[in-house]
Symmetry: none
Subunit: 423 residues, 2 copies
């Protein structure tokens, strides 16, 4: 199956947006074993869209379009697919009902242009959009499949995964199976990590092992091809086992398991409550922890003690400690974590204090210096210092990442859990 991606949107031609949709879709097609031959970007212009869609119709078996599905006059994807395939636009009552309902439910007034979204080319299946308003379409015509998805990356990804992927899998002949496992690695840099597993990577062709860079973490993507799922899984297991032996506690999770997820799982399992005190991260750690559904089971409260007064008043950090050692010091981090335990109902407390920049650094305490403390009811307090480099948001994110990583390690050690997660 020869595939082609068309991204519609003048904003892409003006350089306002980096086209991450195409990259994401390219990866999806690769995982399906579908060959992608072209990616095209075209503006919201009827004539030029027709030209590009027509070419795609002639040369490709699968045409995935993103963008141009909104309610405005500029949104022409429905019309152009219709014109190019000769399938007239038809009014879908179910779509009109859904659109009406969404507006009613949220008590907003529906403007008439929204009903443009209720028209699709004759014969098209509706791609439901449970996370937005613009429905997509799936149309098979003369052995070419047209798929149109919203341009908003989040909606596009969810709709593709839930609605398009199952349909495409049915179209593919039964052949080889490609399986991947993504190992998520923190606490070590990309080149140091690669050095540890270089020989395994080099002596390996199936599975392949690809190192990938993340945000304050790195990944190893292990991909196996085989005739059956069982065989592919066995191939993966052998290689992944070797990588776990080399990298041990640097691997904190696999696939979609973020740090906030793996931390939350252990807390939940052991019925523990967590509370946190954040200074330089300003709430980011709490935000990440509460991104996990059900986190209210273990996340008890957070203190964003940005000012010194807040550290003293909320957490009982002795003023003397701040004066003598500074707000950014191991002593203050320790007092913050202990203060969290005293001023909450949590079993485990985490505290961070650091200099996110760009101002506030000194030669002794530069921008990017962060202290982290993890304390529990036994009186144990673990202290860490981080030294990041970069911009404010990067330092904040890296702090959240390393803090969660050390919290995960603390929990793993506390419960003597085997970190190895062989599926």
């Amino acid at each position: 199956m020869k595939a082609e991606i068309i991204c519609v949107g003048t904003e892409l031609l003006l350089g306002d947006i980096i086209n991450t949709n195409a990259t994401w879709l390219a990866n999806q097609l690769k995982d399906l074993g579908i060959d992608l031959y072209y990616i095209s970007t075209v503006g919201d212009n009827r004539r030029r869209m027709e030209e590009v869609f027509k070419t795609a119709y002639q040369r490709s078996d699968l045409v995935i379009i993103t963008g141009g599905l909104g309610p405005t006059e500029d949104d022409l994807t429905r019309e152009v697919v219709s014109a190019v395939t000769g399938r007239r636009l038809r009014f879908y009552q179910e779509l009109a009902d859904q659109i009406n309902e969404k507006f009613k439910k949220f008590k907003r007034k529906m403007t008439p242009n929204n009903l443009r979204q209720a028209y699709l080319p004759e014969g098209a299946e509706v791609i439901k959009n449970r996370v937005g308003t613009a429905p997509g379409l799936y149309l098979k015509v003369n052995n070419t499949i047209f798929v149109a998805l919203p341009g908003v990356p989040r909606e596009m990804k969810i709709n593709f995964t839930e609605e398009v992927l199952p349909r495409l899998k049915k179209e593919l002949p039964e052949k080889g199976i490609i399986l991947s496992r993504l190992l998520r690695i923190c606490g070590i840099g990309e080149s140091a990590m690669e050095e540890k597993v270089k020989d395994i990577i080099q002596n390996q062709s199936n599975p392949t092992i690809a190192p990938l860079a993340g945000n304050s973490e790195v990944y190893l993507k292990v991909t196996a091809k085989a005739a059956s799922k069982k065989e592919a899984e066995a191939l993966l297991k052998d290689t992944v086992d070797q990588l776990y032996q080399r990298l041990g506690m640097y691997i904190y999770g696999e696939n979609d398991e973020t740090l906030e997820l793996v931390v939350g799982k252990i807390l939940k399992k052991h019925g523990l409550k967590l509370a946190i005190a954040e200074s330089c991260t300003g709430g980011l750690i709490g935000h990440r922890i509460t991104n996990i559904p059900g986190s209210s089971d273990y996340f008890e409260r957070g203190f964003v003690t940005y000012s010194n007064e807040a550290k003293i008043e909320e957490l009982g950090v002795p003023e003397d400690v701040i004066v003598r050692y500074g707000a950014v010091s191991p002593e203050t981090a320790k007092a913050m974590a202990e203060g969290v335990l005293e001023n909450s109902r949590a079993d485990i407390a985490v505290a961070v204090t650091g200099i996110a920049g760009p101002g506030g650094g000194t030669p002794e305490k530069p921008v990017g210096l962060v202290y982290c403390a993890i304390a529990d009811k036994s009186g144990r307090v673990d202290l860490y210092d981080f030294h990041f480099w970069g911009e404010r948001e990067w330092i904040k994110y890296s702090t959240s990442q390393y803090t969660l990583y050390h919290l995960w390690k603390y929990l793993i050690n506390k419960f003597s859990v085997e970190p190895k997660n062989t599926q």
Copy 2:
């Protein structure tokens, strides 16, 4: 001048690399006033490259190609430009000498395939590459200009800026100027917003007005073309003034001015301290506020009162209020905001409580229902209710967005500031 970008490289079709070259070049062309109509990506495949290059030759005045200029058999850009334009490849002695010299300088052995880089289509000017090995080409043939640049982003950018930009400027008839202003709009949906300004958008060709969707906000991008900067600015001002008249307080900022930034600016200017209490957002609002450098001047502290106990103990929310009205209720939001004022040193307090889902919803209080309170020392408390739909992270983000928007409106009204920000 109609331009087109072609990115060559199978790695782009495999999704291994995000195509930042195209975005960067798109911005360069915009600044030059050159209209970019298409971006195409194609793999290192001779037949498909020929097809894409040929189409571009037929429809565009300027074709900028990145990638495919290296020394390997896979690097086909030179050959394909030659085939499509009918200009035979010619040996450039100067290029061969340069390549030889570079290898000598770095004491590496030159393999014969490197000499492939010494061939260019007849009539092509050499694009020097002072930061890498692969030279590019600049070829004018039948009123179409072909530019080929290396795919490595750093080399591509330096070569474009130093070698291509001066040549293109000479080709342009008059130095037209393009200027844009991005209006940032919150508190209204995309279609309702467009309805309000539809006639202005439709009756307008210079400046153009493009509606763009953001995350829980929308944009209007106003772009003017003129002979001089002054003239472009005047054109922009006229149109932008009209849009402000229609949209008023929905426009909270322009260009890079985020909500956290405009809120912070007013707080700082008036020497006010802000403290917040977050329930469903888990720290996200504090995180966003502290993304702004210098936010410690006005952000005093935050309470992430995730559990009911935290709401009662940290903020003094009466247990009775939670029991009678629920943790997600206007009454609780109000008590939280008042509690923030009493338990901090802030002048203004913001509190949110809601149901981020996926669990925890009821028919009366569905997932996505959020209450927000803004309180100040005068005893005034403003209450808002939001009704979002979507996933957990989306509801959290939308809550942070609408909370910051209402805080901005509160501050604008408090200080009778004119929101209109005409540059």
